[in-house]
């Protein structure tokens, strides 16, 4: 089974800190995604990547950046954390092409105080 592993389940950070959320997948998937999940809003796409060193903005990229130096690892960076970035962050991966669903990680619940 494909596994998507997010390094932290819970994280508490202070306003203004630089925060790194790590995601690793073990099935050689080209596509990787970062979503945030908030009650009543569903999942909203922050950034995605189709290949190493490639990244594209999603629907809500402001305040975030990403890094993909290796195929299996996709990092989400909060340059200067703010309280409105308190949320559940979900990483996902998928193979390229049609007909494939996403495999999600278990999520990182980030609280910014």
């Amino acid at each position: 089974d494909v596994k998507v592993t997010q390094s932290s389940r819970y994280l508490v950070k202070r306003t203004g800190e630089k925060v790194f959320l790590e995601c690793v997948q073990d099935m050689d998937h080209e596509n990787m995604f970062w979503y945030r999940q908030d009650p009543g809003l569903g999942l909203r796409l922050i950034y995605f990547s189709y290949d190493v060193k490639m990244k594209e903005k999603g629907d809500i990229p402001e305040g975030y950046s990403v890094s993909r130096e290796k195929k299996e690892r996709f990092s989400l960076i909060l340059e200067s954390a703010s309280t409105n970035q308190t949320s559940m962050y979900l990483c996902a991966s998928s193979p390229p092409g049609m007909g494939y669903g996403y495999t999600f990680g278990s999520g990182t619940r980030l609280t910014v105080v």
Binding site: R44, L45, P96, G99, G101, Y102, F104
Partner: protein, 111 residues
């Protein structure tokens, strides 16, 4: 723009049927359906590609009406294990491979 799911929440007794709808104002290429149990990752259920195809997965099936940009998820003879939040994810163009998700429908199955 996010697709709209309806209803937002539904409560059923075990054995009853449910329909969850997903509507988009944009033309769609594919629709994915996922289920998320409390505290867990969303799990992929099925994908429907442009063409109006209906798919099934145990007692859960779905349809996709591309003309109306709508998809419906059908849960028949619901089981307790079906409880969770269901999300549709829509792909607007072939090859886009990025999904825009609806806000979710919370399904509660009671004994």
């Amino acid at each position: 723009q996010q697709p709209v799911q309806s209803p937002q929440a539904v409560i059923l007794r075990e054995g009853e049927d449910a329909v969850i709808n997903c509507s988009s104002s944009k033309a769609l290429y594919s629709v994915h359906w996922y289920r998320q149990k409390h505290g867990e990752a969303p799990v992929f259920l099925m994908i429907l590609l442009k063409g109006g195809e209906q798919k099934g997965h145990e007692k859960i099936s779905a349809s996709f009406n591309e003309k109306k940009q709508q998809s419906s998820l059908y849960l028949t003879a619901s089981q307790l294990s079906y409880s969770g939040t269901y999300f549709c994810g829509t792909e607007r163009a072939q090859g886009a491979q990025k999904l825009v998700f609806g806000q979710g429908t919370r399904l509660t199955i009671n004994p």
